[in-house]
Symmetry: C2
Subunit: 541 residues, 2 copies
């Protein structure tokens, strides 16, 4: 049998040939909608390859992008890996020290960046000794001291349109993403041609995301987050229409795009999903074209899933994964015996993080390494391995504590029900251990956010002399909420759902809860601030 290498190029060639007219829509930097088709896209990808060649880029080199979801970033997504280099999609939301660290650690040689991000690049360029060229993803050169600086559109205009992509060794690195670490600087993961091909394949399965040429896909998730969860590659593998929402899209702009472009599958952080529902309550965008709204990053509140399904007829879907896993290793699957389930069972299904995707091996283990029961009660840590699961970080000593005998140790605590659907209970480090028993901060948060007056809720452990740790809840109230009245009400709200010892001992009402670069609550910082404020003198993490 042919051992032809698994390359993204095979998908790209087919779509350019079979679906040349299918559309890519991109919100450009001036806010206008740019439209072109896969034939034009492919032609520009080939020009980009000639640009890389003229810049002296060689196979195996690393290229950084600092960019939003737009068509130029998409050209980098394909052009750089098919050329044989690796695209490092730098996380815009990192602070400058992390951006500098990740670019230097990945050993990037060229930095492509969006026009509005010039101030960041100007601020850090002095600390990037390996960068040989800066390329601004726009039509003209701005006034700046940055050097050597090129204009993307000018380079493309001058480039030859012919380029023959070679079939690469499938183990060639294709993209690089970094993930925030609990302690220390971000950790880098390298994806190969092979791992991206196989991961993309899995997204096309009917029993996974079922991405099809007939779809219109809008990855609201940033393209600098784990390859936008693989959705751009899935679009290119099928010829699906693709909508890229540009820089800092407002929720109104996102909903308007769903309506005008007839988006069938959108994928976003849960916080965006919540905002969407809030906006929809007042502005009736038509979003019924959505066959699925894929929400990730954390579990969406039940109330949001219910409202989207019953009021707007939009089914929420969830999966589980991480930067280390490309990211998906599980996804919602409605089994044959659940096809005609009740509305409440349908919601219960959508509240979980899905079933193992074919191709991956997973085990959920207790502290002794034994697999837990499938009773949805026992809790254990998810471990996984498979052809799109990493087995190391890029040049990082921390690899040895996250990858054990070829298995990735997730740090995520889950239960699994008798049907094999998982429920993430908490990050290992965010679990609260009170008197020797575990309390899930996530489950408390989910119930708190379901309260009509609560806008945001975040629960962390606080030190306790008797119980070692006790739950502490940070709450942002909706407009008009009265914090003095509500504390007792929240206790009543929770005590019908949880054992008494699960209830938070303290509430802190605030206007803003600090979040990290991925939009998740920064629980490390919250615990630290609490401890400093309470003058505790011992380390607590």
């Amino acid at each position: 049998m042919n051992s032809l290498q698994l390359n993204l190029k095979t998908f790209l060639d087919r779509t350019a040939k079979y679906f040349p007219d299918k559309e890519i829509v991109s919100r450009d930097s001036d806010g206008s909608l740019f439209r072109y088709n896969y034939a034009e896209f492919y032609s520009r990808v080939k020009k980009l390859a000639n640009v890389l060649s003229s810049l002296g880029i060689e196979k195996g080199d690393k290229i950084a992008s600092l960019a939003w979801n737009n068509h130029r970033h998409l050209e980098l997504y394909l052009g750089v890996p098919c050329y044989g280099a690796a695209l490092h999609t730098v996380n815009i939301r990192y602070g400058n020290p992390e951006i500098v660290y990740t670019i230097n650690h990945a050993e990037d040689k060229v930095l492509f960046f969006d026009e509005d991000l010039l101030p960041i690049v100007e601020a850090i360029s002095g600390e990037l000794p390996n960068i040989e060229a800066y390329i601004i993803l726009g039509k003209s050169l701005p006034k700046t001291k940055l050097s050597p600086l090129y204009c993307y559109e000018e380079l493309l205009d001058q480039a030859e349109p012919q380029f023959q992509f070679e079939m690469l060794d499938e183990h060639t690195p294709a993209t690089i993403c970094f993930t925030s670490a609990t302690t220390g600087l971000p950790k880098g993961v390298s994806y190969t041609q092979r791992s991206l091909y196989l991961y993309t394949s899995a997204l096309l399965y009917k029993d996974v995301t079922a991405i099809s040429e007939n779809d219109c896909i809008m990855p609201i998730v940033p393209m600098f987050h784990v390859n936008a969860w693989g959705l751009p590659y899935a679009a290119i593998a099928t010829g699906a229409k693709l909508v890229l929402s540009g820089k800092r899209p407002s929720v109104h702009q996102l909903l308007a795009l769903i309506e005008s472009e007839n988006v069938t599958l959108a994928a976003a952080a849960v916080t965006i999903g919540i905002e969407m529902v809030n906006v929809l309550d007042e502005h009736p965008y038509r979003i019924s074209s959505l066959r699925s709204l894929f929400l990730g990053g954390q579990a969406p509140p039940k109330a949001i899933i219910e409202k989207l399904l019953f009021k707007y007829r939009v089914p929420v879907v969830q999966g589980y994964g991480a930067t280390e896993t490309s990211p998906l290793i599980s996804f919602l699957h409605c089994r044959k015996d659940q096809e005609h389930c009740s509305e409440s069972d349908n919601i219960k299904l959508r509240e979980r993080q899905g079933t193992l995707i074919p191709g991956i091996e997973m085990k959920i283990v207790d502290e002794f390494g034994e697999e837990i029961l499938w009773d949805d009660q026992q809790m254990g840590e998810i471990m996984a391995r498979g052809p799109w699961v990493a087995n190391q970080y890029i040049n990082d000593e921390r690899s040895s504590s996250s990858f054990i005998n070829g298995w990735w140790k997730s740090g995520d605590i889950a239960t699994i029900n008798p049907q094999g659907a998982i429920r993430i209970v908490d990050r290992n480090k965010d679990m609260i251990k009170s008197g020797g028993e575990w309390i899930s901060s996530v489950q408390l948060e989910n119930e708190l956010i379901a309260h009509p007056e609560v806008a945001e809720a975040c629960v962390v452990a606080m030190p306790d002399e008797k119980w070692i740790e006790r739950p502490l809840a940070y709450i942002v109230l909706k407009k008009g909420g009265n914090s003095t009245l509500i504390e007792k009400e929240l206790t009543n709200w929770l005590e019908v759902k949880f054992p008494k010892w699960w209830l938070p001992d303290r509430y802190v009402f605030t206007n803003d809860i600090p979040k990290n670069a991925n939009g998740k609550y920064n629980k490390n910082l919250l615990r630290q601030l609490f401890n400093e404020a309470n003058d505790k003198n011992y380390e607590f993490q």
Copy 2:
């Protein structure tokens, strides 16, 4: 990124763990329906591995099966490859010399066979020097001189239920199938763990066969034909219910199984599809559970596609491929812009052999090797390469004429329309070249079979002094047809659809048209018989 090997075992492990209760239904040798589930199946597969071990089978060894579609054959389908050996599924329909040749050429060491096929095995055992053990796929040993002979169920009863399948090098041969050759003995193709994993993956794509856990799959296509087109592996990759129709199923039995088991996807040779429609006209089996009836081997007549769709609401789907391609490299795809097409366009779509599957590269070339236009007029030969396309035959000098620079040369002539959907016009060798112009025997056959009095039609070239070749039609009439009256009628029937020079010069009315082991018309033999009968003295093929 992890370079974990692609193994069928990953699919099997997952389904046994996540869908242990899903059912496998098998028509046993006594005609009764045997039922068990994936957990029991897996347990027997592990016992089988221990049996292989006790028989002294080593990794890399070859094992032959001579069996129908049943659960024991399915156990071999997984047990042998996951053990690390290769399963050669011998074509029951071959004559004894071909069976002997293929078993010896593959160097099979053990032969598993169904009870009713004992006479074949007895007849050929003297010519199988490499076979070290015979195993009858039944519950008891029959009276026979065959030796050493074991009983499958007795061996399994004695075997330990524990076996740890190893992760194999993905290039390990997993299965072997032979394909009939135009000249000479059959040619063997070896499939690897990797190629079967990747091919199975493609079957799960929403835009290909979209096989899902929610399906109930019945591969009517024999398990000795190109891995039953991969359907058993796709069932095991998803946890779909699987129905295996046993030895020599009648069309009534097949339709009854579709009805009783609520089959959603059945796959069969076109001849079976035609028979189904004939039976349904008189016996109203309920087959509305079928979401797709996949017909292959040749193009189904338009009248059959129409009747199935409009009368029985069963959509016919087609693909294209061969033993060399696992088999599918194209499959019906209804594009976004065809979603709301007219009934007649829907039929036109289903008359074609589909669109290239993601992962494969294909070109259709003229006699100078240039790609033909996508105008549905120009004809060319299909060439393909990809991770589930072979690049050689097993130890066979004929490889060099079928595999050119890594591309498989199909010998099949096709057109391609502007949407990229192919239409197989003919086998290269079956095209009729009349006065320097090509005539498609398949297109003539399709129109002849559509005539209400015609049961079978086969068109071949006959030598002609003026035009070199002219079409000759073999016709089997339905009961009561009058051959003396009908010849003129068939000419009238065809002349409104084809140019005058396409019409057959002669008709031969017969009770039976010879077919080869795959149920296809044996056109070589027909041409030869015609030439002998007409005392022509020159070679003609």
